[in-house]
C-alpha cells in the first residue's frame, strides 16, 4: 500500500482545490509561520479516518471547514481525498482495482460522510482499511507539531500502545 496523492478543498486554510503528490524518498515542506503546513498533516489524518476534531486542533468538526478571511466568505463543505496504490496488496482482490480513492466530506452543521472509489461507505470501513496496514490516523509514524516529547513525558501505562503498533 502506498499513499500517492492528497487532494483538499475547503479544508482549513486550503479553500482552493489543491493536489499534493506524495513521491518516494524524502519530501520537505517549508513556509512561514501560519501558512498552512500543519494543516496538510491534519488533512491526511482526517483522510485516514480521524474522528476527533480536538486531535485536529478544532473544538468541533465544523472548525475544519474553511472559515473565511477578511476578503472571502466562509464555506459550508470541506473535502479531503487520499489516492492510495494497492497494487500487489491483498486489498487489490477485494476492491478489484489497483488504486483506491478515499474521500471524506464535512457539511457544516450536518456532520461528515465517507467514500471509497465513489461509493458511500461507513467511516468504519475507511478506518479498518488503514488499521490493517498499520497506517491508522493515530499511528506513531505521524508526529504532529510539538508532540515529539509526548512519548517520553507520558506515563508508562500510556506508552503501551507503541508496542501494539509494533506487534
Amino acid at each position: 500500500l502506498s499513499l500517492d496523492k492528497l487532494s483538499i478543498k475547503g479544508f482549513k486554510s486550503f479553500v482552493e482545490p489543491t493536489d499534493f503528490e506524495i513521491k518516494n524518498g524524502l519530501t520537505g515542506i517549508v513556509g512561514p509561520n501560519g501558512c498552512g503546513k500543519s494543516n496538510i498533516v491534519e488533512a491526511i489524518r482526517f483522510g485516514l479516518g480521524e474522528v476527533s476534531a480536538k486531535q485536529l486542533r478544532g473544538k468541533e468538526i465544523d472548525d475544519l471547514i474553511f472559515n473565511g478571511t477578511d476578503n472571502r466568505p466562509s464555506w459550508n463543505i470541506a473535502e479531503v481525498g487520499l489516492f492510495v496504490n494497492i497494487e500487489g496488496n491483498d486489498l487489490e482482490n477485494k476492491f478489484e482495482s489497483k488504486q483506491l480513492e478515499i474521500a471524506r466530506k464535512i457539511w457544516r452543521g450536518e456532520g461528515t460522510n465517507s467514500f471509497i472509489n465513489g461509493k458511500e461507505v461507513r467511516l468504519k470501513d475507511i478506518q479498518l482499511l488503514f488499521a490493517d496496514a498499520s497506517t491508522s490516523a493515530r499511528s506513531t509514524s505521524i508526529v504532529s507539531q510539538g508532540r515529539i516529547g509526548a512519548i517520553t513525558q507520558a506515563k508508562p501505562e500510556d506508552r503501551k500502545m507503541v508496542l501494539e503498533e509494533a506487534a
Partner: protein, 161 residues
C-alpha cells in the same frame, strides 16, 4: 495476546538500544516492560536512557533536545519493527542543535533506503532542507489562503530560522 506483545517488546527494545546509540553517538538506553500480573495485557513501558558519559537517570532530567532525540529513537524503533508506507514528521528537529540535526537526517536517509517508505518532513531548519529529495513551499499569496508550490533550496532557506 501476551506472547505477541512480548515478542514485539523484544524487537522494539533491540532496535531502541541500537538507534539511541547511533543518534547520540554513544551512551546507552533500554526499555522495561512493567507487567501488571492481574492483567498482563495492561502492562506499561519504562524508558531508561543515558547520553554519552552521563549516568543513567530518570528521563525527565534529560534536556529538551535529549528528550526529543530519545523520543525519535523510540519512534524509529517501533517503525523498524513494523514499517508503515509513510512517515510524517512536523518540526521534530526544532529543539536539536546542528550536530544532532545532522545525525537525525542521516538516520532518516538510512531508513528511507532500507524500507520503501515515503517521508514528509516539515522543517524550519536549513540543514534538514538541504538533505531532502525535494522541497515544497506553502505560501499565502492572499492572506489566509494557503497554496502549495514546488521550491528550490535557495528559495526555501528564506523560511529557515
Amino acid at each position: 495476546g501476551v506472547t505477541r506483545l512480548k515478542d514485539a517488546f523484544k524487537i522494539v527494545n533491540e532496535n531502541f538500544e541500537r538507534l539511541f546509540t547511533k543518534l547520540f553517538g554513544g551512551g546507552k538506553a533500554y526499555l522495561k516492560l512493567i507487567q501488571n500480573d492481574e492483567d498482563p495485557l495492561n502492562s506499561g513501558l519504562e524508558i531508561f536512557a543515558s547520553p554519552p558519559g552521563k549516568k543513567m537517570q530518570n528521563i525527565t532530567l534529560l534536556s529538551g533536545g535529549e528528550q526529543a532525540l530519545t523520543a525519535i529513537s523510540l519512534l524509529f524503533a517501533v517503525f523498524m519493527a513494523n514499517p508503515s508506507p509513510f512517515c510524517i514528521l512536523d518540526e521534530v528537529d526544532a529543539p536539536l542543535d546542528d550536530n544532532n540535526v545532522d545525525r537525525f537526517c542521516s538516520m532518516v536517509e538510512e531508513i528511507s533506503e532500507k524500507v520503501q517508505t515515503k517521508f514528509i518532513i516539515i522543517t524550519h531548519n536549513r540543514m534538514t532542507m538541504s538533505r531532502v529529495d525535494r522541497l515544497y513551499g506553502v505560501t499565502m499569496p492572499e492572506e489566509g489562503i494557503s497554496q502549495i508550490v514546488s521550491v528550490e533550496l535557495e528559495e526555501a532557506v528564506k523560511y529557515a530560522e
